[in-house]
């Protein structure tokens, strides 16, 4: 019967694109990213084998057991087989999730190292802003009433607070290469999502919450940040970039910003 070969061809075509990697991840730029890709590959191998075997088997029974005048077998099941495949899938699926837990734990169950550079991330309809604490190492006071996007004050920094005076605000996320970064994610209107493909990291920004999030980027370059939680009509253009710089360039940029204040 035609459907059997159709299923086989579909299966081969789909598998081909997973092997050819025509459309694929960008290269990772962190240790976490490398581990992520390993876990992805493990999952792909397990699910790929199941996918291939199940579809091929489906095609096979379609071809093999078409009505050719035989009498069908009168069979109600097989408890041994039932037990076997139930336990096999349980072990495989739960095994996979347990293997990935270490990756999750490093992202979410551990704190950023004490020397991590803190940066506050602010999401708003439809732009990103990033705040650095300045030479005093402290984030200064903010006030909702002082928010002025056109005037370059999306955070509502209070200039009367000396700790706020030296805070740097940037429209892109600039970080030194190889240094742990601690983000504090926060939004002032609706839910947004911070996503950097090359970091293999994603986290919602939730109104009313300040969510800590840490990473270390090991490769200099510019990487796009697309908002990845529906935030309204401009969602598709809520873009910024992560710029991973050499330490010297990062310091230079900070000094230039401070000089302009």
């Amino acid at each position: 019967m035609l459907l059997g070969p159709v299923v086989w061809v579909l299966t081969v075509v789909i598998c081909y694109f997973f092997v050819a990697k025509t459309w694929w991840f960008p290269l990772p730029i962190s240790q976490h990213g490398l581990q992520y890709d390993e876990q992805f590959l493990r999952t792909l191998v397990v699910t790929g084998i199941i996918f291939f075997a199940a579809q091929v088997a489906l095609g096979y029974v379609i071809v093999r057991f078409r009505d050719d005048g035989r009498r069908a077998s009168y069979l109600h099941g097989n408890n041994k087989l039932e037990t076997l495949w139930t336990s096999a899938t349980a072990v495989l699926f739960i095994g996979l999730v347990l293997m990935g837990t270490r990756i999750w734990a490093e992202v979410h169950w551990t704190e950023a190292p004490a020397d991590a550079i803190p940066i506050e991330v602010l999401g708003k309809q439809f732009a990103w802003s990033f705040r650095y604490p300045g030479p005093d190492g402290k984030f200064g006071r903010t006030d909702l009433k002082l928010i002025n996007d056109a005037g370059g004050n999306p955070f509502g920094l209070d200039d009367h607070d000396p700790a706020a005076k030296d805070d740097l605000v940037s429209a892109s996320l600039k970080v030194p290469v190889g240094k742990p970064i601690k983000l504090i994610l926060h939004t002032r209107d609706v839910i947004h999502n911070f996503f950097v493909r090359e970091l293999r990291l994603k986290q919602d920004l939730v109104p009313g919450m300040e969510i800590p999030f840490h990473f270390t980027a090991d490769k200099i370059g510019t990487y796009e940040i697309p908002c990845s939680e529906l935030c309204g009509l401009g969602h598709f253009q809520m873009r910024s970039v992560l710029q991973v710089m050499s330490e010297a360039d990062f310091e230079k940029w900070k000094q230039e910003q401070l000089a302009q204040k």
């Binding site: 459309w23 199941i50 699926f93 999730v97 979410h108 986290q203 969510i211 939680e229 598709f236």
Partner: protein, 588 residues
């Protein structure tokens, strides 16, 4: 357990209105639900075609756009907010008015009473009410298109604060969003009425000899789906009312303090956006099974019928249905791995999520086991059931990626998710509906559908849906976020445009193919060959009565059941199937 008593809740109505409009006959109500879903699926599909068009031609001017939507497509160019409205309404209409409505309320209403040997549902008046309440919900939902600002743009999940603070968060978030919530609340009421009716009918109206362990698997899935609906829709109703209060009465269930939207400082304080997500997904995840379980039931029924073999592992199938129903309530958190909820509970949710993969795998194995050693008859209905198995495997396996919080760190809210749920909850479920249509049409309307057109429809649709939804997985792997009106602002998305263009063309093609189905459906209603009582040589009770069935189903006669539902190719039997009502002995 079974009730031998005569159940004569009502008599055949004679007026047109009593017979076809405000009918209390479960068969008429089933058909009403079916056509409501058919209207909705055509609407939902049209919206998706407009979306696909916009994604590949975000700036193209189309003359008739402006005529139809003078504001949303001013100048003939669709605005991003219009795209989001289409997306919101596509998801909402498909999930509620198609996937929840056709398999359960449509086919379930028509065939549950007949398959268990009852004259009607337990509460015929409630049944009528639940249909007309669903109808009202659809009217209110569609009305959202026509109010100022248009339909809402917060997606079918309606996450606050976007959905909770009114017009300042975007056009469509005014009256459109309010109507959306009201419609959903009405729909919840209708579904609760339906759920109670299905549960009572299954438990109380089974014919003599129809023990639970002899019920067709279709009945099992309708029964468990009704239980999911009872617990799920009750919670969504509560959540919807709270959201409505946040919008209209100034309460703060979901909106915290300190928000500035469109330069306005809001007065809300004390709410939590995560609370909505928990309540929504407490409903939303079981909803996935509400959509797919009846399709699994139909597939089981058809694979057994058309391979002329008993279902492989009947009891294991029932335990798997029950396990899916139960676990379905414990995994909602896997929609929220990135939401800011505790990363420790994410771990628990992920283990439970993987666990629910196990009964799903059992079902797949048992389907292949059913086909093994069979004598397969390739009717169109059977082809769709086989297609269901293929799609269920494909769509299920991508869930193994998404169920791991570690991998979700990248895949959450990318096209990988869109591909996953369309494959399994969308098209697999729709294949279940097609299978049910081709299988039961002769019983419902007394005429056969055209098999040649049916098979062409099957092949083109099968290839079409794979062509639309497989590439989405690759887009997701490349990191393409979902719910983007256009992709021109990001460098990496520009390079993915050929994939989007391919999918858009595949969508046009697959939608066009559905005209074959519509033609076949309506042509066969009038011109199809006359159907016999049991054209497929099936064993279940609906095939013991005339096509179409008389008003009280069994013509005043009370069927007695002697066998399970899938006695095919019994050694020594005269034919290769033994009806459930056949007193002849079957030795196991």
């Amino acid at each position: 357990m079974s009730s031998p008593e005569v159940h004569s809740a009502h008599h055949a109505p004679t007026s047109f209105i009593g017979k076809y409009v405000f009918s209390k006959d479960h068969k008429v109500i089933g058909i009403q639900y079916y056509f409501l879903a058919l209207f909705s699926v055509l609407l939902g599909m049209t919206l998706s075609l407009l979306m696909r068009f916009h994604m590949v031609h975000p700036d193209m001017k189309v003359g008739w756009f402006e005529k139809l939507w003078p504001t949303a497509a001013a100048g003939g160019i669709m605005t991003p907010e219009m795209y989001l409205s289409l997306m919101t309404m596509h998801g909402t209409i498909m999930v509620f008015f198609v996937l929840t409505t056709a398999p359960q309320s449509g086919f379930g209403n028509y065939f549950l009473p007949i398959q268990i040997g009852a004259e009607d549902m337990a509460f015929p008046t409630l049944n009528m009410l639940s249909f007309w309440t669903t109808f009202l919900a659809l009217v209110v939902m569609v009305a959202a298109f026509f109010v100022q600002g248009g339909a809402p743009l917060s997606g079918w999940t309606a996450y606050p604060p976007l959905s909770g603070v009114g017009r300042i968060s975007g056009p469509g978030e005014g009256m459109g969003q309010t109507l959306w919530i009201i419609s959903i609340a009405i729909f919840c009421g209708a579904s609760l009425m339906g759920a109670i009716n299905f549960i009572a009918t299954t438990l109380d109206l089974r014919a003599k000899g129809m023990s639970l362990m002899r019920m067709p698997l279709t009945c099992w899935t309708w029964f468990v789906t009704a239980i999911l609906g009872l617990f799920g829709f009750a919670v969504l109703l509560a959540a919807g009312i709270l959201l409505l209060l946040d919008r209209t009465a100034g309460t703060s269930f979901f909106i915290p303090a300190g928000l500035v939207v469109s330069d306005q400082i809001l007065n809300h304080k004390g709410g939590s956006p995560l609370l909505w997500q928990h309540l929504f997904w407490f409903f939303g995840h079981p909803e996935v099974y509400i959509a797919i379980l009846p399709g699994m039931g139909v597939t089981s029924q058809l694979l057994s019928t058309f391979s002329r073999k008993p279902i492989f592992g009947y009891r294991a199938m029932i335990y798997a249905i029950l396990a899916i129903g139960f676990l379905g309530f414990l995994v909602w958190g896997h929609h929220m791995f990135m939401s800011g909820m505790s990363p420790y509970s994410a771990f628990a949710f992920s283990v439970l999520t993987m666990t629910i993969g196990v009964p799903s795998a059992i079902k797949t194995f048992n389907w292949i086991g059913t086909l093994w050693g069979g004598k397969i008859r390739f009717t169109t209905a059977m082809m769709f059931a086989l297609g269901f198995v293929s799609l269920f495997v494909t769509g299920g396996l991508s869930g193994i990626f998404l169920g791991q919080p570690s991998l979700d760190l990248y895949f959450h809210d990318t096209y990988f998710v869109v591909g996953h749920f369309h494959m399994i909850m969308g098209v697999a479920a729709i294949f279940g509906m097609f299978a049910g249509t081709y299988y039961w049409f002769p019983k419902m309307f007394g005429r056969m559908m055209n098999e040649t057109i049916g098979k062409i429809h099957f092949y083109l649709t099968f290839l079409g849906v794979y062509a639309i939804f497989t590439p989405m997985h690759f887009l997701g792997i490349a990191g393409n976020p979902r719910r983007y009106a256009d992709f021109t602002n990001f460098e990496f998305m520009n390079s993915l445009m050929p994939v989007h263009t391919f999918m858009t063309h595949a969508a046009y093609f697959t939608a066009a193919v559905q005209l074959l189905f519509l033609f076949n459906l309506f042509w066969s209603l009038k011109k199809g060959a006359k159907a016999t009582d049991n054209p497929w040589e099936s064993t279940t009770l609906e095939w013991t009565i005339p096509s179409p069935p008389p008003f009280d189903n069994f013509g005043g006669h009370h069927p007695v059941v002697y066998h399970g539902a899938y006695e095919y190719s019994v050694p020594g039997a005269a034919k290769d199937y033994v009806m459930q009502t056949d007193p002849a002995a079957v030795s196991h």
